[in-house]
Amino acid sequence: MDRRKFLRQLGLLASASTMSMTMGSVPLRAFGKSIYKADELNGKVLVLIQLSGGNDGLNTVIPFEDSLYYNARPNIAINKSDVIKLNPLTGLHPSMEPFKQFYDEGKLAIVQNVGYPSHNRSHFRSTDIWLSGSDSDEYLSDGWVGRYLGNSLTNDPNYNLDHPMAISLGSTQDSLLSCTCQSGSLGISFEDPNQFFQLINGSSADTDPPPNTIAGNQLKYVKEIAARSIKYAEIIKEKADTIDNQTNYPNTDLADQLSIIAQLVAGGLETPVYLTSIGGFDTHSNQLGRHASLLDNVSQSLSAFQRDLELLGVADRVVTMTFSEFGRTVEQNGSGGTDHGAAAPLFVLGKNVNGGIWGGNPDLTDLDGSGDNKFKYDFRQVYATMLRDQLGAGPDDMENILFKDFDTLPLVSVKHITSGGPRAFELNQNYPNPFNPRTKISYTLRLPQVISLKVFDSTGRLVKTLFSGHKDAGTFTETFGGNEYPSGIYYCHLVSGSYRKTIKMTLLK
């Protein structure tokens, strides 16, 4: 695309040097990691990678002992000898060597046969279903992530509004992030933090309220985009400039996008959701070479990203997940390719991921009416898992986001999280207060975590431990009885890791 040359023509890169002069002639990157303190942040991050076009699941996670697989694909099956074996029945495409390492390290989960009932074979409809989190006969105009942001995060008094709620890298597709609970989308998109900052230079926000007409609402949308660009450009540049990537990324768009995400996460941007995408998976013809190079790109880029996160000390916080609108036909077509299919595997990668293969190989003796793989896991079970165990959504949030109760999968390890950080828990004032002799103390955990709830008297002496240990996310109530204690002021501490919240209670006899 030769974007840099174009920007130079626009005079944008010239003004970039002007800007570093305003920083006292010190290039921003020279600040390096001196202002970087990873332990200040505990916020969880979900990175979504959309494989557009319908990834061929059977040639990605390969049932290499199944003769039905080889019968259905005489020309395009992956030879058993080339498959990277994970266990006696299942292996990976030969381009995915880095994923084997993650698998061995217990950081890669493969969820088999993910889909939904009555799988739709249209790219567009099925993509809408995946992005919106709807049933196959249900039409939603917003995205599941947008509903999370709009319902949960906007109601979180602790969310730092100076940071964008979601970032979509290099993509104009942000229906995933849109929410009908707010106007438009709650995310922002850009390709490169520095360029983004330069583009914004000279813009000013326009706060004139448009009238409530069709055209007025269109205008309102454009104005909001303008305001959002201006608001976030600076902090994004600042956070990206703080960090140097610690690994070498391949030279692909996907890798570029992931390297920026690593910088932003490690730099302290508190954005919880990132979206990137890579296209070209619609392999109707001559798929062997094309698919190999796509999977090579995905696995090399993700490998550089994951190692980078580990070296930057933020791998604890990040989970990366792939998805694609459908798998492909079990049978090859006559053009050396495969057509639109149904259920397929997806990948979840991260330091806190419970590695392994969830579910067995596709049962090629039991296919759907069109001869394609049946789903075993609803894609929304995976979403529910990410929402609850990675992003810390509570039961009420889930109801507003996915509309139904989906069983979660143990994909993300939550047991060793000692704290989700100051925003992951809330302690409410006891009721009644003053009390005699009993009072109720309620608290909310947005993430499963190890906590203690203890009552102290005014001299700091421990009076009673109400709870200590691991608890799932949710809202809980404990009762404190004051029969054995004298009137006076008592303090109740809810402790999670190194964070503590306290209420003052009055026992009045």
């Binding site: 583009l199 326009d206 949308y221 985009i225 390719g337 069109s370």
Partner: protein, 451 residues
């Protein structure tokens, strides 16, 4: 809006309505264009100009369009984009190029798959030939168009090994819309579509590869070929609704009023899929000019770039710049993102592309090597020496969405930059800098993104 009768014609053919029509039907217009349209009745303008059959075909981008060899593809591809941008910039009072783009975004092919820019050129010619012709005939010809045959894998669709890609999109995206056919219909249609091959720039039917058997498609049985399949598809009423819904989204507003769509669809069916009667009714309808509709369309990158040049009377832009900015803004001609085409509306504007639009208009206005002289340009307005009137007149010329008094005051403040209204003259020292920031500001307005 459900009681709309689209046959009710517009009564007030004035500057506001004419400006709305030209903004939506052309890629920008000059003040002279507007005066010309108003010198005619709306019927004369729509039927004799916008929808007039143009017999002459534009000159091709070069001799190479008939070279069936692959050679210098990247240069030729760029020349092809320059060529079409130029046609859009230089076309006069015809809807033709707007409809060519409409078909490009309907019967989508991507250069990166089709490989030879020559093939994209010939497909583009086909769209121009049928710009507002007969949709059924266009569908028949597109089906065996070499670029399309390659793009949707139909050259790989043969008797022994059917490939369903084109069959599916023919119904889902080109004619019926999703939900109006079965998976079995796709499989049967694919059989009828077998056998087509491309040799260089020509397509032909190879009888050896054609599935010469009985097919059952949409409850009809016979040894169908592609023409039969299309005839059967076009017996379904959903075709007219599907295409009229798209026309509505293109010319009226992104969220169609289904009762209005159905009225256009009736005209379309009654006229055996001729487009002119539909478009003529649309552009003359009172509904098209209702206040709700004016200024309610978010400009596509092309609708932003080309009219911006026309706003400033720039006739000789650097075409490579245009190609690059269109690419940055997400609309590279001949390279739509996928078979569904550009999504349009809000998807055009995000936190990445909106600032890029702003910097492009900034650069165009202050560039030293452009033919634009901002002082001379300002003086083409009769009111150039009257600051308040000048702001009004420029806003009226540049914007479809009428500005609030607040916004006009904001622009006036930028123009005056601290001076008093009565002191304003384009002959003052520094007026050039003030005019430059004034014009930059008006093109940076969110309102400028609407048409």
């Amino acid at each position: 809006m459900s009681s709309v009768n689209i046959l009710k014609k517009i009564t007030a053919w004035d500057r506001i309505s004419a400006s709305h029509l030209l903004s939506r039907a052309l890629f920008g217009h000059s003040s002279e264009d507007l005066d010309f349209a108003l010198s005619l009745t709306i019927d004369e303008y729509v039927d004799n100009y916008l929808l007039a059959d143009l017999t002459e075909e534009p000159q091709s981008p070069g001799f190479w369009v008939n070279d069936s060899e692959s050679y210098n593809n990247s240069v030729r591809s760029r020349e092809l984009v320059y060529w079409w941008h130029n046609l859009m910039l230089t076309q006069s009072h015809s809807l033709r190029e707007k409809m060519v783009l409409f078909w490009h975004n309907h019967f989508v092919s991507e250069l990166s798959v089709v490989q030879l820019p020559q093939r994209m050129y010939h497909q583009n010619r086909l769209f121009r030939q049928f710009a507002f012709g007969n949709f059924k005939e266009l569908t028949k010809q597109v089906t065996v168009d070499p670029a399309m045959l390659i793009y949707l894998d139909n050259t790989k669709n043969r008797k022994e090994d059917p490939n369903e890609n084109y069959a599916r999109e023919l119904m889902e995206l080109f004619t019926l819309g999703i939900g109006n056919y079965s998976e079995a219909d796709i499989a049967e249609a694919a059989k009828a579509l077998t056998g087509w091959q491309v040799d260089g720039l020509q397509s032909y039917l190879d009888p050896e590869r054609f599935d010469d058997s009985t097919k059952t498609f949409m409850n009809q049985t016979g040894n169908f070929d592609h023409l039969d399949i299309i005839e059967i598809i076009f017996t379904k009423p959903e075709v007219a609704s599907f295409v009229c819904r798209k026309l509505y989204k293109e010319f009226i507003y992104f969220e169609p009023d289904e009762s209005v769509v159905e009225q256009f669809a009736t005209i379309f069916r009654d006229n055996d899929y001729e487009l002119k009667p539909v478009l003529s009714a649309l552009f003359k309808s009172d509904y098209f000019y209702s206040q709700e509709i004016v200024g309610a369309k978010i400009k596509s990158p092309i609708e932003f770039i080309i009219p911006l040049l026309k706003n400033f009377n720039i006739a000789k832009p650097t075409y490579e710049d245009l190609r690059r900015i269109a690419d940055d803004l997400g609309q590279t001609l001949f390279s739509p993102p996928n078979v569904a085409g550009w999504e349009g509306d809000k998807s055009w504007v995000n936190t990445n592309t909106l600032p890029a639009r702003n910097t492009f208009s900034d650069r165009l206005i202050s560039s030293n090597d452009s033919e634009l002289n901002i002082l001379e340009f300002a003086r083409t307005f009769e009111s150039s020496e009257d600051a308040v009137q000048f702001v009004n007149d420029v806003a009226e010329k540049f914007l479809s969405y009428s500005l609030s008094e607040n916004r006009k005051q904001y622009l006036l403040d930028i123009l005056l930059d601290g001076a008093e209204v009565y002191d304003w003259s384009t002959y003052n020292e520094n007026s050039e800098a003030r005019l430059t920031s004034f014009f930059k500001s008006i093109c940076r307005l969110s309102e400028y993104q609407l048409t």
